[in-house]
């Protein structure tokens, strides 16, 4: 019924990954098997999983998530270090080996801090208790008379003290305390959390020494690129590799079948001594394609399908009051159609993977948000047990959801298996643009009314899109609306008659999570249409929102009801953003100010945008964001995540769209799929609501309010509504 959030989305990640395995080996796991596995999992010894202490007192903390620029290399170990009561300067951070029995590697859903907060605190506190117990045993005193201080255990009035480095050997052998009962620090004891800690991954990102996936170099490795059918779902019918094989540096040409479980397209791989030779070799291939069933699809045919689907009722996902009856009554009636295109993730580092399959084992270097899935895929392709597949997680040059996939891993594994060599597969930028898993395209119709007092009395939202759940989940289990309607079906505003319907469109275009997923769509359409109702009722957009959120309510998000929108927290971020931005202060002609707010990944964000509209187009001058993400772990890093979400959202609002013709993506590189550049970047200010609540998501929630705040500002400046993204030159003519 609504967006999978929290645990539901994480379960979905696991089910998807396993579903993948199932297809490779014809072996079906069930979700029950996972639940059982989780229950049987023994309490982890923190000294095995999370904490390594040397005799000289240096501490290595283990990172179980993947670093893609969001700062987990620092924020997660900060949580461990705090509960361990050590000084940050003692700490170094080490990437965990890929071992799903010890770590929940999956990195996505703005979930790293949100889901690790309690487990890491418990692990750190358990390690501390074990160290204290080890010291108490050595001194033959009651552990309650001992405490942890700056990497030492101290007894009573500091007459006895022992550094952790001398205690760890004994501590690690003690029984692991019940994690649910370990004593966590009080927040007034925090010395690390909430302070600006410089990010541990930054120094190696300014001198070229950081190793991204594409930078992996293994003795004897070969480089490969793959020719894939330009039409989604197509495959090679026949090919001639004579010229390619004759080229200098080309070693092998290998056909690799699609791996449906890894959602890889298959194709013809050219394997060479260098990346350049592989690219040149691919250019020399002659391939006849079987274009498959989607060769006639285009953005126009998809739009026609959307229009048809919206002409009749869809699945009802929210129904308060009686919107249909209310819309038939008197009042000012507003109708609007909103439209958003497919978007590609386009991280700066294109997809790649390095895999070496040998007879007795395999090793892989993956820039992956889901290295456990990559391990699984390699294990099945190699015919080796997973424990024989050593996976190193590298730095990632951006992820944004794309790097959860294992398509590029499957290709590297297939080519390594075929050639016997370590192989690095690289997507060129063109490959990355045209063989992605895209943010779904969607179309929305809204009908609303405002009463004589200017108050919205009815809201009817009909949505259609290509569904992520429809693409990834077997048809008999799919709930196509579930991945698409979040952020719209749980609208927080008190509108008495509120109805939302959803209809799934069919498409051959692969779709998947793109930074903030359905919220990138629904934040835009709902916050812009609310602005339309405010204008129709002659209400100030801020004051109307505050009134509609005035009564404190909790809006549950069906179907899992795990995530709850608290209207008072949404109202508070609106008030903070408006105050910091100077809402209501006059602006010169040609400039406008707009606002929007949105709840996603358990975080509340409001943004105020200021724009200048001229003949040259829209220039976003300033964005002020107010954020309630619970407790802030590392404020500088947290600000960076919001800044980043805004920039990513601006690209989609102002610059880029993926369009389809003849079943293929029409864009290919940054010349026709344009990104925001420095001369288009606004001044950004980020303000956090002070909070002791558990931390919530940050990687994605900055994005959804950005486009509506900007387009509402364009309306304030020009009186024109932009209902289709990205904004086009003609939209303001």
């Amino acid at each position: 019924m609504s967006a999978p959030k929290g645990r539901a989305r994480r379960d979905f990640l696991k089910v998807s990954a396993t579903g993948a395995t199932a297809l490779v080996v014809g072996f079906q796991w069930s979700t029950d098997a996972f639940a059982q596995e989780a229950q049987e999992r023994k309490p982890k010894n923190p000294f095995s999983a999370w904490v390594r202490i040397e005799a000289d007192g240096r501490v290595r903390l283990i990172l179980g998530k993947s670093e893609m620029g969001q700062g987990v290399t620092t924020s997660l170990p900060m949580i461990l270090a705090e509960e361990l009561v050590i000084d940050w300067k003692q700490v170094s951070v080490e990437q965990a080996p890929t071992d799903p029995s010890l770590y929940d590697h999956g990195t996505g859903g703005s979930g790293s801090v949100r889901t690790s907060w309690l487990p890491l605190r418990q692990a750190g506190a358990a390690a501390r208790e074990m160290l204290v117990q080890a010291a108490a045993n050595q001194w033959a005193v009651n552990p309650n008379t001992c405490r942890a201080e700056h990497g030492e255990v101290v007894h009573g009035p500091r007459t006895k003290r022992l550094p952790y480095g001398l205690l760890v050997a004994a501590a690690a052998k003690l029984p692991v305390p019940d994690l649910a009962k370990v004593k966590l620090l009080n927040s007034n004891e925090f010395r690390i959390l909430g302070t600006d800690v410089p990010r541990a991954d930054i120094p190696k990102k300014v001198d070229g020494s950081g190793v991204f996936g594409i930078d992996v170099r293994v003795p004897g490795m070969l480089y490969a690129v793959v020719a894939r059918c330009p039409v989604f779902g197509g495959k090679p019918k026949s090919f001639d590799a004579t010229k390619a094989k004759a080229m200098s540096g080309v070693r092998h040409v290998v056909e690799i079948p699609a791996v449906p479980a890894a959602h890889s397209a298959g194709g013809v791989a050219v394997v060479a001594d260098t990346t350049w030779a592989a690219m040149r070799g691919r250019d020399a291939l002659t391939i006849e394609w079987d274009e498959g069933p989607h060769a006639q699809e285009s953005s126009a045919t998809l739009r026609a399908q959307f229009v048809d689907l919206l002409s009749r009722p869809g699945e009802v996902v929210r129904n308060d009051g009686d919107a249909v009856a209310a819309l038939a009554k008197a009042g000012t009636r507003i109708e609007a159609t909103y439209e958003l295109p497919f978007q590609n993730h386009s991280p700066m580092e294109p997809m790649n993977a390095t895999v070496h399959i040998r007879a007795d084992g395999a090793e892989a270097w993956l820039p992956s948000q889901g290295p456990q899935w990559g391990q699984d895929v390699i294990s099945k392709i190699a015919g080796l047990p997973a424990e024989k597949v050593v996976v190193h997680t590298t730095l990632m040059g951006g992820g944004f959801g794309r790097r959860y996939h294992a398509d590029f891993v499957a290709e590297a594994a297939q080519i390594s298996k075929a050639t016997g060599a370590p192989v690095q597969v690289l997507f060129t930028r063109e490959d990355d643009t045209q063989h992605g898993f895209y943010r779904p395209a969607s179309l929305h119709t809204f009908t609303g009314t405002v009463d004589a007092q200017g108050q919205p009395s009815a809201w009817h939202h009909r949505m259609t899109s290509v569904s992520i759940d429809g693409y990834w989940t077997p048809r008999d289990k799919a709930k196509p609306a579930s991945s698409e309607v979040g952020g719209a079906a749980n609208l927080g505003y008190a509108i008495p008659n509120l109805r939302m319907e959803y209809a799934e469109a069919k498409s051959g275009v692969p779709v998947m999570w793109w930074r903030s997923v359905e919220h990138s769509v629904n934040g835009f359409v709902t916050e812009c249409f609310l602005d339309e109702l405010a204008a129709a009722g002659k209400q100030d957009p801020l004051q109307l929102r505050l009134r509609l959120l005035a009564e404190p309510r909790k809006v549950r998000v069906p179907p899992d009801n795990e995530s709850t929108l608290d209207t008072s927290r949404l109202k508070a971020v609106l008030e903070l953003a408006a105050a910091k931005a100077g809402w209501g202060k006059p602006l010169p002609k040609g400039r406008g100010r707009g606002l929007a707010c949105h709840f996603s990944f358990d975080t509340y964000v409001a943004e105020v945008a200021e724009v200048t509209v001229s003949k040259e187009g829209v220039k976003v001058d300033r964005v002020v964001a107010a954020v309630d993400c619970g407790r802030v772990i590392n404020p500088g890093g947290a600000r960076a995540q919001i800044e980043s979400g805004i920039a990513y959202g601006l690209t989609a609002a102002l610059k880029s769209a993926i369009t389809i013709d003849k079943g293929r993506v029409q864009q290919s590189n940054f010349g026709d799929y344009e990104m925001l550049r420095i001369d288009e970047a606004p001044v950004i200010e980020v303000h956090f609501v002070p909070s002791d609540a558990a931390p919530t998501g940050l990687g994605e929630p900055g994005l959804p309010p950005c486009a509506p705040a900007v387009m509402n500002a364009v309306f304030a400046a020009t009186g024109r509504r932009i209902r289709r993204l990205p904004i086009r030159a003609g939209d303001l003519a």
Binding site: K205, F212, D215, G249, M348, E349, G398, A640, E643
Partner: protein
């Protein structure tokens, strides 16, 4: 194949490669200098920027035969110990997120700082508009460049009190 000699980060290097190979891939795959990044291959994103005889250049669109005998500086050679003013400022302002584009950003910034000791925001935008950062670190890049300019314009020792 052709025999090409280069000076890379002060070291003489010679390679036998297809002369049309872009310098980018010679650096990365032949010389194992992987700090210079591939982003687009068509000089649209700036991730591959290096200095050729001191001038910031897109190595993805420069064939190795065209730089035969020339002096190349990559991110690995920008400083010996991460102490170029731009590198220090990048760390101080906590600029990188994923970090992938930052080698190129830094190489162009180093050239900008040589040309303008006190670049304005407009100078910065003009110099770096050929680069793409998908994480959106642009506002921090502007701050870091101003910081680097301030640091380099101060006397190194014996500053006026």
């Amino acid at each position: 194949m052709a025999h090409i000699t280069l000076t890379v980060n002060g070291q003489p290097r010679s390679v036998d490669v297809d002369p049309q190979t872009p310098l980018l891939w010679v650096l990365r795959d032949t010389l194992n200098l992987t700090g210079t990044k591939y982003g687009c291959g068509i000089a649209q994103c700036g991730a591959c920027t290096v200095h050729i005889d001191g001038e910031a250049t897109r190595s993805c669109a420069t064939s190795v035969e065209d730089v035969n005998g020339r002096r190349i500086t990559t991110i690995e050679g920008l400083s010996a110990d991460r102490t170029h003013a731009a590198q220090l400022a990048w760390i101080a302002e906590q600029v990188p997120q994923c970090g992938y584009c930052q080698s190129g950003m830094l190489m162009t910034t180093a050239e900008l700082l040589k040309q303008r000791s006190k670049p304005t925001d407009a100078d910065i935008d003009a110099a770096l508009a050929g680069h793409i950062c998908r994480c959106g670190t642009y506002p921090r890049i502007r701050k870091a460049i101003h910081r680097a300019a301030d640091a380099t314009s101060k006397p190194a020792t014996g500053g006026v009190k």
